[in-house]
Amino acid sequence: MTAAIETIGLGKQYRRTWALRGCTLAIPEGRVVGLVGPNGAGKTTLLGLAAGMLAPTCGTISVLGEPPAAGPAQLGRVGYVAQDTPAYARMRVADHLRLGAWLNPGWDGELAGRRVAQIGLDPKQRAGSLSGGQRAQLALTLALAKRPELLLLDEPVASLDPLARREFLRGLMEAVAEHNTSVVLSSHLVTDLERVCDYLIVLVASQVRIAGEVGELLASHRRLSGPRRDPGTLPAGQAVVEESHTDKQSTLLVRTDEPVLDPAWTVTPVGMEELVLAYMNPANDIPARRPRLGVAS
């Protein structure tokens, strides 16, 4: 299966700071990828690089097998909605659709019209007077109607109320169901991602902390709680992601491929929100395969 996005050692530097560093990913097609991380972690940079809005400082990136924005054909295969879902404030909704039709040979005018009617947008209304949710839906329509193979969405629901968020995701999932589009969706709201994502990337401080299929990640992480123990005593296959200790008890979040057989531990599965929070916490090291020594109490 070809990768939707493949990066090797990708990095982007602005003046002195690295917005993204050492990013190596192979995102498979046909997935809805959640890109999670705190503000300023590099999510916008990664999406900008994939959309061809930015050029890398080092490393390589290929999108659907080609360099980003390699030409009109490749631009037509990738849809991009930037943060704050920009639109031309003085242009009407209908004009935006005409823009899409004129500039995209693969434009599906029928889909665009259907979606606009479904969302309830007035084609004569100027984009500047739309609500945030309506503008986000317009931006999504513009991205979807060119029938892309890959959709890149940069925090599209961040400034929307819960109802508008739900409607946006509904439209997105319907499009994915209909066209099998790959989606990369960045957010710092984990609960939304839980419903819709089947691949997860956690990005913190310009580096990828973990990336993988949600099912596999959830299956390979466990929460262990039991009497107070030094994490160094764990078997080699169990890498500690997060630990906390009281004077009598230890609670560890471990990544492991084998079942935990030690009867001293109470083993519980880990939910996606817990998992993401653990990897987002800058105090936790990215686990190597050897468990970490040292105790933080």
């Binding site: 809005m53 050029a55 031309y88 242009m91 004129w102 500039l103 513009l142």
Partner: protein, 350 residues
Amino acid sequence: MIRLTWLQFRTQAVTAAAALAAFAALLAATGPHLASLYAASGLSGCHGGGCQNLAGSFEAQVQSTGIDAALYVIGLGIILLAPAVIGLFWGAPLIARELETGTSALAWNQSVTRTRWLAVKLTVIGLTAMAVTEGLSLMQAWWAAPLGRAAGLGAPAGALIQGRFTQLIFASHGITPLGYAAFAFALGVTAGALIRRTIPAMAVTLAVFAALQIAMPLWIRPHFAPADRTVIATSPGNEAGGATGPGGDTLTLVATSLPGQPGAWILSSGPVNAAGQPVSTVPAACTASSIENNLPDFDGCLTSQGVREAISYQPASRYWPFQWAETALYLALALALVGYCFRRLNRRRS
């Protein structure tokens, strides 16, 4: 892409069309009046050197009507300002607005490369800019034709009668407006691409364009070809200026025309003595016959003292070569800026 360019350019295009139409209407309304004045003055049948008086009185008549004179000056002003307005309002926002509002993320992710996006926009709007400016110039030239003919027939130089080689007229007629429009537009677009915000880009465009427009006639255009030089006798037609100061009155001579070289562009003129060296003070023998009292006497005195006038000038025959040279220079600058814009746009630093 062309349709999109027109869609986004609609407001500016309509404004320009309205301005052109208003200007045209104004000129069309007053043009016949000016033409009738010309016909009544008897200049139309006049040939040769004897027409100077008729031409002079025609000019005085036009001056006295007030409206025509004002319109002439306004027309010139509009033509000279048009490129700057285009650079500010059509050029600076082109890229800067898209970057400022974030719509660049929308525009440059459709199935159109940035190169094509910019190329079409520059071509459509740039050609419109050149057409509008040249259109204004041609309309005004049609309207002011009687004045031009009067100048050709020897009317004394004045506010309304200026040779086409003089700074203001050179810049507002011929083909130079095309070059100015193209350059100002390209300058605006480049400033917008570099500065990424519309208002600062407009300010920079205005500053740079104004600087060049001032520098060009003063320091660059005179050197398109080596100036011709000649020394002539002083004459009452060429004013002598004087001011009282320590060491005697200063003497300046300002030539506004060169006998034998009608339509020449006078670059500089000044008094020289018999040996050809510059003279800066009135000779002691002539201070008694001051300018206010008796011009021909003063003149004769200067001549008897061996003071003559040295003039450097560009002959009228060089008018069109200079027009082509200046236009080509501005177009070359415009193309260089445009080339830079394409490189800059494709760099994708941020």
